[in-house]
Symmetry: C2
Subunit: 162 residues, 2 copies
Amino acid sequence: MGADNQQETLDSSWVVGFTDAEGCFYVGINKMPKMSLGWQVLPEFRIVQHERDEELLKQIRDFFGFGDVRKNHGNRKDFRVRGLDNLEQVVEFFEDHQLRTKKQHDFEMFSQVIDMMRHGKHLERNGLDQIAEIVSGMNEQTTPTYLKDSSETVRQATSDRG
Amino acid sequence: MGADNQQETLDSSWVVGFTDAEGCFYVGINKMPKMSLGWQVLPEFRIVQHERDEELLKQIRDFFGFGDVRKNHGNRKDFRVRGLDNLEQVVEFFEDHQLRTKKQHDFEMFSQVIDMMRHGKHLERNGLDQIAEIVSGMNEQTTPTYLKDSSETVRQATSDRG
């Protein structure tokens, strides 16, 4: 593939390299009284960039064929994928095209959570506990705010049991 | 190329994607009384990572076939390439495999500087002024400290003329 062609379309390895650096596999566990257990498990895959590279985020969205490009915060935009069906395709992609950084560890935890959700485990107390435990083992260094938030959420989830 | 194979060797597109996110094309202009003009132009290409991914930096070094993996600061390591011969190969690589983010702009400036140095322009007052001007137009967002330092250097270089 020549340089000209590369300018137009992304290829899998580029997406993996970029995700190794900038991708985030995130699982939120949010208090939500309306849910039967009072908690909502909300996994998402996202890539945050300065708004100057919004066009590139749209190319990544087109590469996957789903997801949204939105305002993140300040002058940042993000490409975000939610929804089990789409996230299962994300998982499949990164199973076929393995990450090279230690982010692979987070991906494997993420993949476990998606699989459990596919089997409805997040709707049972035991499953939710297990998911909270998996999430507490995730080590997403690019979003320290998330780390703080999520460990707090996990503590809440744990202390909520009795 | 299967996932197993990918685990062992890096490919060009992955390196481009990772560089789009984490690479830095840097040109230092350092006061150095021993040099004929009193200034040294020191270009380098580098990728900084948490030390947990030192092994990956070594794979990147092996991919290029030159450069060093060293301690950066704190718990960070870097892959660093210096020297015109090696940097010309880096330039060639990213000419053949174009970056997708706006970092491409920095790369083009970097490439100009390398070319000027190859022709000895950094050893003439006019050439040094031009290089300082190019450097001041570089927009490397991953190293704000450098940006501050370099614009100061450029001002010094400019006021040093008379």
